[in-house]
């Protein structure tokens, strides 16, 4: 049953990437729509989008690190 570790890590990595991809996609879509509607506020909208983007990225990275740890520390 040795391979189950690797399977778990791989599935977890895939799920993390799916979630992060969906989240970043929604953020980018919202950003594009916002700028298209209000081009003069582009800088402000980008600034407001940046922070949740980085927080989301941090969560995804955390998930990936834990997947790596599953493999390394099995």
């Amino acid at each position: 049953m040795e391979f189950l570790h690797y399977m778990g890590a791989g599935i977890g990595l895939g799920l993390a990437v799916i979630g992060a991809g969906l989240g970043i996609g929604r953020l980018a879509a919202g950003l594009a729509e916002g700028i298209a509607r209000q081009p003069s506020a582009a800088a402000q909208i980008t600034g407001a989008v940046n922070l949740p983007l980085f927080l989301l990225e941090g969560v995804a990275i955390l998930a990936e690190v834990f997947c790596l740890l599953i493999v390394l520390l099995r």
């Binding site: 922070l51 980085f54 927080l55 941090g58 969560v59 990275i61 955390l62 990936e64 690190v65």
Partner: protein
């Protein structure tokens, strides 16, 4: 870097991609320290590669900034020239786009030095990891210098050169920002009021009791996330580049050296160049993110909206 690593192994030994990659990303082990120092109270103080890189980065940042600023201050005209232009852009960017919106006008000058130091230090440490100085030194050593197994040049090749890809380094940086948040809250509201601010005003006592552990957990998770984000991003890019480059050697072992060379020319090297270009962006963004998040957390401690 792979070539020299592979050539150093005996020909009979199979190429192990995982080991080679870890060897190029992780810190150099304590069996190959750069400078031997005694063990004090159970802690080995020997200088490893990442400590050495931290010194290099610190010296570089200090010299670059002080020399440039002093030269600018000595000249007669106010127009900056040369590297001072870049430095001024960075300072203005951090002040106007990072510090001022999150920290507020009143505290900008208090917290700008810390944020600038963090940004410049992390940026330089990340950037140095992208320059293959030690791999070039290794090639030189192997073909020209022949300095031997235990020389400084031979030891300096163990481990990766990005100090910020080490979790200990980023944990130290995150602790700095953690302490800065507490100091910022205490300076703005007083030492007791800062801790009271953890729980919003006007909440019923029962809810407040439930909120305290959550708030404390949130306070501790932030530096942890900062640590993981920076280190994992810096390690991840390097691992991706090395994994793609190691296809060359895997295919050489499987199907002969011409197939390996073909894979290298057609696939590995172009893709590795592309990922390296992406890494330049990642390096900038991660330094920016660390600074921005520190500024935002400091701002949250100062402006407690309740």
């Amino acid at each position: 870097m792979q070539i020299q690593e592979h050539a150093a192994e005996p020909a009979s030994e199979a190429f192990n991609a995982g080991e080679v990659i870890i060897e190029h990303v992780a810190n150099s082990g304590l069996d190959h320290p750069l400078i031997h120092l005694p063990t004090i109270a159970g802690i080995d103080f020997s200088v490893t590669k990442h400590v050495f890189m931290l010194w290099v980065v610190a010296t570089l940042v200090f010299l670059m900034v002080t020399i440039t600023v002093r030269r600018y201050l000595r000249q007669d005209r106010l127009v900056p020239s040369g590297f001072m232009n870049a430095l001024e852009t960075i300072v203005e960017f951090i002040r106007d786009a990072v510090a001022r919106p999150s920290v507020g006008d009143k505290w900008v000058n208090t917290w700008l030095p810390l944020l600038l130091t963090l940004f410049l230090f992390i940026l330089t440490a990340n950037m140095i990891g992208l320059i293959p100085v030690f791999e070039t030194l290794g090639l030189l050593d192997r073909w020209v210098l022949h300095s031997g197994e235990e020389s400084f040049i031979a030891r300096v090749q163990h481990g990766g050169s990005t100090a910020t890809s080490n979790f200990n380094v980023t944990a130290a940086l995150a602790i700095i920002s953690f302490v800065a948040v507490i100091v910022a809250g205490s300076k703005a509201h007083g030492a007791v009021q800062h801790w009271k601010n953890l729980v919003p005003h006007g909440v019923s006592p029962f809810l407040a009791v439930a909120l305290i552990p959550i708030e404390i957990l949130g306070m501790l998770v932030r530096p942890f996330a900062l640590t993981m984000r920076l280190a994992a991003n810096m390690t991840g890019g390097h691992i991706a580049i090395l994994a793609i480059l190691s296809f060359v050697f895997i295919f050489t072992e499987m199907a002969g050296q011409f197939v390996g060379m073909g894979i290298g020319l057609a696939f590995s090297v172009p893709l590795a160049v592309g990922i390296s270009a992406l890494e330049i962006i990642v390096v900038l963004v991660q330094a920016y993110v660390f600074t921005l998040l520190t500024a935002v957390f400091i701002g949250m401690a100062i402006h407690t909206h309740h």
